[in-house]
């Protein structure tokens, strides 16, 4: 194997990084077989460098029977042949690093495919070396408090295997048996998987479904202390042997519970902040900031060196059901019963269709994404305002091929149209003929150029990633204002004031900025100086769906 290039740099790079989520099968097809692949991603690294993203997140690329989009892994050490081979991963990592881009990949720890050799061996009988690698039982009665996650398709967390004559535990699909982490061999084996990929130069993992690793009697099998301890063990090994790599946890929980996955700064480096995302949409629909300020108000502080991952959309449906708890949250009930929002739950929609293709709203949402506390994660195609195809079935609707050019197959592949894994969008509004990277690169007013510009500005102000967050409450509920500060005293270090109009109407607002008296706001995109902050509340007017990023300068 070739020497590995490891990325040198700031060990806390993820706190100021922008992430870009790539569906490998949908990004670019280098060998023209109709499916995107890893060499395809390599081919587009120049584009990603030009765009200005710092880290790629690749959805699972391991060997898999693909009954769950690749989250059913049948070999952790082999690449799915359609995507390429191990050497392609090595090359991808090297080429990305050369361009200053890091790469992380999905890792499913909780379970494997039932086609994985470990399971095929385990199920044979009760005495083989892997007999205890999965969770077997004579009956299906144990752990009744553990909820069934895929309620549409599964009736129970237990499935009967006629070969072994026992039941096996599966929190997800029945073809995804849970690994038994109480078995030290399993615990070690998963650490081996982690080491293998980090050895190849990967910069970290998105850890899928971490709340469910362990199970114990009398519990609901979620967020158990043993799961946290295992993650801490993994973190320790990673820190020891692979400093500067990131562990990003996918824990679909309420913020108060997600913070547990940061430990005391000794567990996962990053966690997704799930609830803020639907609330951004809700706030715009209601033209009121309260959904946003309320969820951030109840988001606890996180340990030093940790970071939230925030996003507008991803490869799954607008996920709400995993963060709901009716008693704890009115917002979910309202969101679910709201006639216009109800249409969207359970159906995956892309960002642009969700906002009725209003470019101003899409820009506003990105401006929020780039300035709220956390590291933003872009979904491939959102930078050109890609649409969706709901007729493809719920999750496929947001996984259509990346639209590179007006050429056939959207420039994604030179295969026959009929071979494509999914058809590209061809409708008059979002079709690839008009909506593609090539056209938008030529058009200086495009969403693509706008996004690039915003990423540039964001990069110049690390305070967006590492700064504190303080809401500036104003009487006009349609206006959201907040300050990101590097230091307690705003005159030391960088301080940025964000003002956002969530309404379709122009709005005035008086911002109580008296503690910033004497500051000169300089608007970041145009560098225009605004009037100094005086004794009285600071008066601003904001255009429909408009926003300002002001640097507060002491002059």
């Amino acid at each position: 194997m070739n020497p590995i290039s490891s990325f040198q740099g700031d060990p806390q790079w993820y706190r100021t990084a922008t992430f870009y989520e790539i569906l490998v099968r949908g990004f670019y097809d280098a060998n023209n077989d109709g499916t995107g692949d890893l060499p395809g991603v390599i081919a587009k690294l120049d584009y990603l460098q030009w765009l200005g993203v710092d880290c790629l997140w690749l959805l699972p690329f391991y060997q898999s029977p693909l009954r769950d989009g690749g989250y059913d892994i049948s070999d952790f050490f082999t690449i799915l042949p359609e995507y390429g081979q191990l050497a392609d991963v090595v090359e991808l990592v090297e080429e990305a690093h050369k361009r200053g881009i890091r790469v992380i990949a999905d890792l499913v720890m909780n379970h494997t495919s039932d086609q994985h050799p470990w399971f095929l061996e385990s199920r044979r009988d009760r005495t083989n070396p892997k007999a205890d690698w999965y969770v077997w039982s004579d009956d299906d009665q144990r752990w009744p408090d553990a909820r069934v996650i895929f309620v549409d398709t599964e009736k129970s967390n237990w499935a009967y295997d006629p070969v072994r004559g026992q039941y096996y535990w599966h929190r997800f699909f029945s073809h995804q048996p849970d690994l038994n982490f109480d078995n030290p061999e399993v615990a070690e084996a998963m650490l081996d998987v982690v080491r293998f990929w980090l050895d190849l130069g990967l910069d970290g993992f998105r850890l899928d479904a971490v709340p469910y690793l362990f199970e114990r009697d009398g519990t609901n099998g979620e967020n158990l202390i043993e799961s946290h301890e295992y993650l801490k063990r993994m973190r320790k090994e990673v820190d020891n042997d692979f400093p500067g790599r990131v562990l990003l946890a996918e824990a679909n929980q309420w913020p108060e519970d997600v913070v547990d996955y940061f430990g005391d700064g000794d567990e996962c480096h990053m966690c997704f902040h799930f609830p803020v995302m639907p609330r951004l949409f809700m706030a715009i629909r209601r033209e009121q900031r309260y959904p946003i300020t309320e969820i951030l108000g109840r988001t606890p502080a996180i340990p030093e060196g940790c970071q939230w991952g925030i996003f507008l959309r991803n490869h799954d449906e607008l996920t709400l059901e995993m963060v709901t708890d009716d008693e704890r949250d009115y917002m979910y009930k309202e969101y679910a019963t709201d006639p216009r929002m109800k249409r969207n739950i359970g159906i995956a929609r892309r960002l642009r269709p969700l906002v009725d293709n209003d470019r101003r709203v899409a820009e506003l949402l990105h401006a929020l994404l780039f300035s709220l506390p956390g590291s933003p994660i872009l979904y491939y195609g959102d930078e050109i305002g890609m649409g969706d195809n709901i007729y493809l079935g719920d999750r496929d609707s947001v996984r259509t091929p990346m639209q590179w050019s007006p050429d056939r197959n959207a420039g994604f592949s030179r295969a026959d149209f009929a071979q494509l894994y999914l058809p590209p969008l061809m409708d008059p509004v979002y079709g690839y003929q008009a909506n593609n990277v090539e056209a938008q690169m030529r058009d200086p007013s495009s969403m693509l150029h706008w996004t690039k510009r915003m990423l540039e500005v964001r990069k110049r102000h690390p305070v967006f990633g590492t700064g504190s967050f303080e809401v500036i409450s104003t009487e006009n509920p349609s206006v959201l204002a907040y300050v990101r500060r590097e230091c307690d005293d705003w005159t030391d270090g960088d301080a940025v004031l964000g003002v956002f109009n969530l309404s379709r109407l122009a709005q005035p607002a008086e911002l109580p900025l008296q503690q910033y008296q004497g500051a000169t706001p300089i608007e970041l995109l145009g560098r225009v100086r605004f009037p100094r902050v005086g004794e009285l509340p600071y008066f601003v007017t904001v255009a429909p769906y408009g926003f300002y990023w002001f640097q507060m300068v002491d002059q």
Partner: protein
């Protein structure tokens, strides 16, 4: 924040020579002075005075005084607010001035003064544009209302909290009419009572009691300042950037009238989710009131309820005259068949959309002073929780009409249909939120029909009161309570289905 409570012990200090003579003119120009014209110097008496602080190395003085003003009438009612200013007749401009001293002439009204003193010739730019705040010059100093001077106001905060609380900045809040309010660091608000009354200020009493039982929707008390049995000032957390419920409801209505969807739920600015939360908060408030002040299971049945019905009957007869023997009499007969109108608790007493505030972390309840028109005993009396509930329901109807009046004449009839739909939609949401709150049913009549009847009675009582008020002060608004009364008599006003 731990609350501090300090008592000002009278020092019996005399005011500086000549200062007293400057006070009558000063009083005459203050919005909180309830007398008419300039009082006679002879009718002024210094009840107590003292020096609170010296600042600027001794050059500036903060003086404090309570003065009483003899008056044959005990003060006059200020005129009602101009059309469009107040939301409801319950605003402080209703009926007799002050409160707590009884309906007929009181011996003397007492006022709290905070006076700053500076050497003659020293500039004070903060007085620019605040001419009524200047008392005048005597000897080598000039005197002015200390609450317009941030240096004095900051010193005052430290003094009354015995240095437990301090701030960096202060600004006056100009909306207040009967008190002087100061906002410190956008974090604290101090209400300085100008017209003083014996006995505990109900706003302080209730806020402290509710905070004490962990009711989360009041602005936490930070400090109380008293002299003997008289409450002088109250410092609370400031709900910075809050929006009044009234303003929020109007925004929703304006959105509805502009967009005109078939279903108000389709309107982006749908208020119902907030109305539901308001309902829940109202129920939690009642539960907290019950916990803090107790529940009376008999008084309302034997005393309060018959009183309400008698009042309603009397006013209804006056309004509908001969037609009373129709649906009105029938309704009253039905109401009189209620056996158990439920328990009585301490209520907010003046509950409407202007008394609730939406902040970034949720709804808050404000102003527990009770109805300004009523006497103190009445304001603190126990009554049915439905009094507050119906106060809010009436407020919802007023909001729809207020927003309607902003539209062009020719649109109003067409939009009034939508107004109706909005009202029912939000009324339902409010009541749903209220009744769904765990534990609230224990404070209400046990039968759903009885609950509906009691609600109806209070709504009618309120609407009749509003009718009299609008006829006297805002004839253009008479249609609002009229419509409500007609609906109630026609039996088409949905009661709660609790």
């Amino acid at each position: 924040m731990n609350e501090t409570s300090t008592t000002r012990v009278g020092t019996g200090m005399a005011l500086p020579d000549g200062l007293l003579a400057l006070i009558p003119d000063y009083l005459a120009h203050q919005r909180w002075f309830s007398g008419s014209g300039t009082p006679e110097l002879g009718s002024l008496h210094v009840v107590d005075a003292g020096e609170l602080a010296v600042t600027a190395g001794g050059w500036h003085q903060l003086l404090w005084a309570i003065v009483s003003v003899d008056s044959p009438t005990g003060g006059e009612a200020p005129p009602p607010a101009a059309l469009g200013e107040a939301d409801e007749p319950d605003a402080a401009d209703a009926a007799a001035a002050g409160s707590g001293d009884g309906p007929t002439g009181a011996p003397a009204a007492r006022y709290q003064l905070l006076i700053g003193a500076r050497p003659n010739g020293e500039r004070a730019e903060f007085l620019n544009g605040h001419e009524p705040s200047v008392l005048g010059s005597v000897g080598d100093r000039y005197y002015y209302d200390a609450t317009v001077d941030s240096e004095m106001s900051l010193a005052w905060l430290q003094v009354i909290t015995e240095s437990a609380v301090a701030a960096d900045r202060v600004r006056p809040v100009t909306a207040e009419q009967s008190n002087t309010s100061l906002v410190y660091d956008d974090r604290l608000i101090a209400k300085i009572f100008r017209r003083l009354h014996e006995g505990p200020n109900p706003d302080i009493e209730v806020t402290e009691a509710l905070a004490g039982v962990d009711f989360a929707h009041v602005a936490e008390p930070v400090a109380v300042w008293r002299s003997g049995a008289t409450d002088l000032a109250f410092v609370q957390r400031f709900l910075v950037g809050g929006t009044e419920g009234w303003a929020l409801a109007l925004t929703s209505l304006r959105d509805l009238y502009s967009v005109r969807p078939d279903d108000p739920r389709e309107a982006g600015g749908d208020f119902a989710h907030e109305a539901s939360r308001l309902g829940r908060m109202t129920a939690e408030m009642h539960l907290a009131m019950a916990q803090a002040f107790g529940v009376d299971r008999d008084r309302f049945r034997t005393d309060g309820w018959p009183g309400v019905l008698d009042e309603v009957e009397e006013q209804l007869r006056a309004v509908v005259g001969a037609a009373y023997s129709g649906s009105a009499e029938h309704l009253l007969d039905q109401l009189r068949t209620v056996v158990d109108p439920g328990p009585a608790i301490r209520t907010h007493g003046d509950y409407h959309l202007g008394q609730v505030m939406r902040t970034d972390t949720g709804w808050f309840v404000l102003d527990f002073e009770g109805e300004p028109a009523r006497g103190m005993a009445e304001r603190t009396a126990f009554t049915s929780p439905f009094k507050d509930v119906t106060g809010m329901l009436r407020s919802l109807q007023y909001a729809t009409h207020f927003a309607l009046l902003e539209r062009e004449q020719h649109e109003q009839e067409e939009l009034s249909v939508l107004a109706d739909v909005w009202e029912r939609h939000n009324r339902e949401a409010f009541l749903d939120g209220y009744f769904a709150t765990p534990g609230i049913l224990a404070l209400l009549p046990s039968g759903p029909d009885d609950r509906a009847a009691v609600t109806l009675a209070f709504e009618l009582q309120k609407a009749l009161y509003e009718l009299a008020y609008e006829q006297a002060y805002r004839p253009g608004w008479v249609a609002i309570p009229e419509a409500a009364i007609q609906r109630i008599l026609a039996g088409s006003y949905g009661g709660p289905d609790g």
